[in-house]
Amino acid sequence: MTLALVLAALLAVAAVVVVALPFLRDPEPSSDTLDELDEEERRRLEQLEARDRSLAALKELEFDHRTGAISDEDYRTLVGPLRREVARTLQELGDGAGSSEDRSREGRPTGGRTS
């Protein structure tokens, strides 16, 4: 009984220490604000996802056509719009990168998180 209570008390103390650790390690932080993506970074993330999606779709179409799973007729219908979509997503990313560089020249942060 006594041993159980001692162990239980130790467990409770350990739990409190683990929970308090971020405050104990960094009692007076220079900033206690959550590091989150800003609007520009979120927009860019969505553009990157769109680019990867269209590139993967094009790659899959090419492979399926090579295997014979996609007929020549379907391939011809699909490949043009997909290539245009890839070009568009790359173009949008290029424009975004430009505005990011502009922001950098203006001395504003562009992301580049460290931890």
């Binding site: 929970v19 959550l34 590091d35 399926d64 799973a69 219908t77 992301g111």
Partner: protein, 664 residues
């Protein structure tokens, strides 16, 4: 040490509550250290739950009957593995297992994704905290496994049917599945609450969902095999509410695993996917509620149950809050693309989703109808096997066919002419198989014949995909055919692992159709020397023996089996009489033919004082394909789950481009 167990659970409850409240405050106010502190609380909650679980395991191992739970679920004579399996054999222990897996999964999922999804994780922590708080509360206040009493000389023992090796793995696997579905739910809610509805929550939870889905699938098959060998009525699935409890979330998760591909490939179905995740999680809670509340047998036992009302309230609250959050965030989930054609791969996936969901809802209605009828009319009307078989046929057979059609249609749109070319070979193979089977007499069951024909269609499409893909890889420069095959699979594990899973479903369909639509049965009361004939087999009853085992008296009838004059050896069937539990179990005799997949299945239904035995004998064609399907399913899941270095590099590069840490 029940005090330590109780204290550990109280600590867990405090930590989970802190993860919930601290997490919400940190996310709302944007406080970094408080968010880290809430995350640490979730991790620490796993540690304290491990301590509570260790206390219960130790008590079970030592047969410490001063623990009420241990005395109620075990006995001194019970073999040690079954003593330990009593951890999940009773209500309190299985709730503790839920909490253990939940906090473990929660801590691991949050830690593994803490960097690149940190703006989501801030909200994921309180969602995990909320679910864990509920289970910790139940364990502390309503159903504690650490209640004590004056130790009786021996325990009440374990139900005989649970004293089976399958029971060591079947329940924990189901729990891994149920609880695993919390991970996609928590990340989906985290994405909605944080407003970060990009693809990261899907990527972060894909493998967790697959693990949960695989565990649920394998757990169900192990349960079916246990029922086949141990329960001894001659079947493997009885549409029992507890069996259906695991099937429903599995069907919803299957729908999600398919529809999520449409979101990843086309950016569509975002609202649908979040809805499926909520549904799968709610059904996993409902499954636990069905299994553990006592509502299954009678609505009156539900009112007597200590956890039933709490569970029902929590499910209602979860669904209400989740739907409210979903509606709040609808504008963020609008899809940038539309379905271009009803003849496309995404459309086929959509049809697949609708059929899976329809089957899931049909099963759900079958489960709740007796409860509703008892509540309204005072009389439980149970929907029988014919109800479930009807819906399995009208939704399951088209689903089987779609498994062959979907992968061969192009994304976006496909022309009718190319479809005719693509499906020429599988259709010809299916029709040929249908005609041959008809000539062989398989027309006695039309659904069975259709299932076989569709299975051949799907199997042909899968084979075509592997053959054509390997040929293309060889043409692209692979050194050899094995290298080309290996390259094909390793470059797209999800696609080709998925095909292997589809192959397992084909085996399952053939096994179910063969064993249920084309089986045969014979019965007879035999005295020593009498014989019984069925499906070409002759069984001669030779002897009856009785022996004492560790915790039961075993009575076995021995039968000599021949087929077409060829000696196939002896087969035993009988009963076990468990002394402590005061129960009798059927111990069936099974002879499997591994070449044909057929089983000869013998039940000794009644053993009479004059040593005559009432036998019931089944011949079940192709039933072993069901168990083989389990192994193939596991293989397919393993291929799909295997880490993909290319995808990893792509994700890292994407994260790096917006300045998120390169590690996940």
């Amino acid at each position: 040490m029940p005090e330590l167990g109780r204290a550990a659970l109280v600590v867990t409850l405090g930590l989970c509550l802190y993860a919930l409240i601290g997490g919400v405050v940190a996310a709302r106010l944007g406080r970094r250290r408080l968010a880290l502190s809430a995350r640490n609380a979730l991790v620490a909650a796993f540690g304290s739950t491990v301590v509570a679980s260790a206390v219960l395991f130790a008590a079970l191992y030592r047969s410490d009957f001063s623990f009420t739970y241990v005395a109620r679920t075990t006995s001194e004579a019970l073999p040690t593995p079954y003593k330990l399996s009593a951890f999940w054999g009773g209500q309190e222990g299985s709730l503790l297992l839920w909490l253990l897996v939940l906090t473990g999964f929660g801590a691991a999922a949050v830690l593994l994704n803490r960097r690149w999804t940190r703006d989501l994780v801030v909200w994921v922590v309180p969602v995990f905290g909320a679910v864990a708080t509920f289970f910790a509360f139940l364990l502390v206040v309503v159903a504690t496994p650490f209640a004590t009493q004056a130790a009786p000389p021996d325990g009440a023992g374990m139900t005989p049917s649970l004293q089976n090796p399958y029971m060591l793995a079947h329940p924990p696997l189901l729990y891994l599945g149920y609880v695993g579905l919390t991970v996609p739910f928590a990340f989906a809610m985290g994405a909605l609450l944080s407003g970060r509805t990009d693809e990261r929550w899907l990527v972060a939870t894909r493998r967790w969902t697959l693990v949960a889905w695989t565990a649920l699938g394998v757990g169900q098959l192990l349960g079916a095999h246990w029922a086949y060998e141990e329960v001894g009525w001659g079947g493997y699935y009885a549409w029992d509410p507890v069996e259906n409890a695991a099937l429903m979330p599995w069907l919803a998760a299957t729908a999600f695993l398919h529809s999520v591909m449409i979101q990843e490939k086309r950016g569509m179905l975002r609202i649908w996917n979040v809805s499926l995740v909520i549904l799968a999680f709610a059904l996993s809670l409902f499954g636990t509620f069905l299994t553990r509340s006592g509502v299954v047998n009678s609505i009156h036992s539900f009112t007597q149950s200590s956890i039933g009302p709490w569970f029902l309230a929590f499910i209602a609250l979860t669904v209400a809050v989740s739907l409210a959050v979903l509606f709040w965030r609808l504008p963020l989930l609008r899809s940038p693309t539309r379905l271009e054609s009803v003849v496309s791969r995404e459309a086929a996936f959509l049809y697949n989703n609708l059929l899976l969901l329809a089957l899931c809802l049909a099963v759900f209605w079958g489960v709740v109808y007796p409860l509703l009828s008892e509540a309204v009319r005072g009389e439980a009307v149970v929907l029988g096997r014919s109800y479930y078989d009807f819906f399995l046929r009208i939704f399951g057979l088209p689903l089987l066919l779609l498994m062959g059609i979907g992968p061969l249609i192009a994304w976006r749109r496909a022309s009718v002419r190319s479809l005719l070319t693509t499906f020429r070979a599988p259709t010809a193979a299916a029709l040929l198989a249908g005609v041959v089977l008809l000539l062989l007499g398989a027309g006695s069951s039309i659904p069975g014949l259709v299932a076989y024909t569709f299975s051949v269609f799907v199997a042909t499409t899968i084979a075509m995909e592997f053959v054509r893909g390997t040929r293309a890889r060889k043409a692209l420069g692979a050194a050899s055919w094995p290298a080309a095959f290996s390259s094909l699979v390793s470059r797209n594990r999800r696609r080709y692992g998925g095909y292997v899973v589809h192959a397992s479903i084909v085996l399952l369909a053939i096994g179910i159709a063969g064993s249920s639509a084309f089986d045969s049965v014979a019965e007879g009361r035999l005295a020593r020397g009498d014989s019984l004939q069925i499906g070409g087999y002759t069984l001669v009853y030779r002897s009856l023996d009785e022996r004492l085992a560790a915790n039961a008296t075993e009575i076995r009838a021995t039968l000599e089996v021949t087929r077409d004059g060829r000696d196939l050896g002896m087969l035993q069937a009988g009963k076990n009489a468990y002394t402590i539990e005061e129960q009798v179990s059927n111990e069936v005799g099974i002879r499997s033919d591994w070449r044909t997949g057929e089983d000869l299945f013998v039940i000794a239904e009644q053993i009479n004082p004059d040593a005559s035995v009432q036998f019931r004998v089944f011949v079940k064609p192709l039933v072993n394909l069901i168990w083989l399907a389990g192994l193939v399913f596991l293989l397919g899941s393993a291929i799909t789950l295997w880490p993909d270095a290319r995808e990893q590099r792509r994700l890292v590069s994407r994260a790096a481009e917006i300045g998120l840490p390169a590690s996940r």
